[in-house]
């Protein structure tokens, strides 16, 4: 993908990995999450006791396991990208499959977490802390589902032989989105579940 006039360096590349269109989307998503995080932080500043009190009731175990799952699935995606760069199509598909599977476990655990909150009668309108907790985690949850759809589509296309070492932009596009979902959770978990 390098231009002829710009000889590729031994390491490094000129452009962002994947299709630039996905990066516009990623930037927009990061902006939304960023504003949402700051809204949380500043709303908390005006209501510290409330936030500190209800933060205790969150399920940190599930949160931590979910963090590990997302980190691990991100790692799997890295392996998938590395694999396709070596033309190892089957390996690429397998790693993508593991990544989607980890994402599915994340989503399943998240659903049990939501179900537990729901059983306690907690909704978006219970209080400002729960409003943020549910909004942020649900919004992120939807991104995980979206990322799983994207990775599955990439895996199917890879399986069909649409990608190779010479042409793997599509894999990088999906990978970039998935890492964004991971990155956002890396901020979300400590912020909402732990920090006080």
């Amino acid at each position: 993908m390098e231009t002829v006039a710009n000889p590729p360096a031994a390491t490094g590349r000129q452009d962002l990995p994947g299709d630039f269109a996905i990066w516009i989307f990623i930037f927009a998503e990061l902006l939304v999450f960023g504003i949402f995080f700051l809204a949380y932080a500043f709303a908390r500043a005006g209501n510290v006791e409330l936030f500190n009190e209800y933060q205790q009731y969150l399920d940190r175990e599930t949160g931590a396991i979910n963090t590990l799952l997302l980190i691990t699935s991100s790692f799997f995606v890295v392996r998938a990208v590395n694999a396709i760069k070596r033309n190892a199509v089957a390996s690429c598909v397998r790693w993508l499959g593991f990544a989607v599977l980890s994402g599915a476990v994340f989503a399943g655990l998240k659903l049990t977490e939501f179900a537990a909150r729901h059983a306690d009668g907690i909704t978006l309108s219970t209080n400002t802390f729960y409003m943020f907790y549910l909004s942020l985690t649900f919004f992120h949850f939807m991104h995980v589902l979206m990322g799983m759809v994207i990775l599955t589509a990439v895996a199917v296309k890879a399986h069909r032989g649409d990608y190779s070492a010479a042409n793997h932009t599509g894999v990088e596009t999906g990978a970039s989105y998935w890492h964004m979902v991971d990155l956002v959770w890396i901020v979300l978990f400590p912020l909402v579940y732990v920090m006080h």
């Binding site: 590349r13 962002l16 990995p17 691990t72 732990v194 920090m195």
Partner: protein, 87 residues
């Protein structure tokens, strides 16, 4: 494992350890200025590792990559500020 894979595995290990540390802090119920600063530092480190080695932006020359790093830095800084004014 090839070189790139080995590097990714190493990064993964650091991320796991930092996550476990974060969880331990939460489990023990620690709070306060020092803990917040440590957590924010941990977020920055983990985030930048993901940006550099998982997203692979470390080897990208395009200036667009600074958008992501800049996003992380400003979010962490402003969260820190919000916690600072609430003390």
């Amino acid at each position: 494992m090839q070189g790139a894979d080995r590097k990714a595995a190493f990064v993964w290990l650091i991320l796991v350890l930092l996550t476990l540390a974060t969880y331990a802090v939460g489990r023990l119920g620690y709070g306060g200025v020092t803990v917040v600063v440590m957590l924010l530092a941990s977020i920055s480190l983990k985030g930048q590792l993901i940006i550099d080695y998982f997203m692979g932006l470390a080897q990208v020359r395009s200036r667009w990559k600074w958008v992501v790093t800049g996003w992380l830095a400003s979010v962490v800084a402003l969260i820190g500020m919000a916690y600072w004014i609430s003390i």
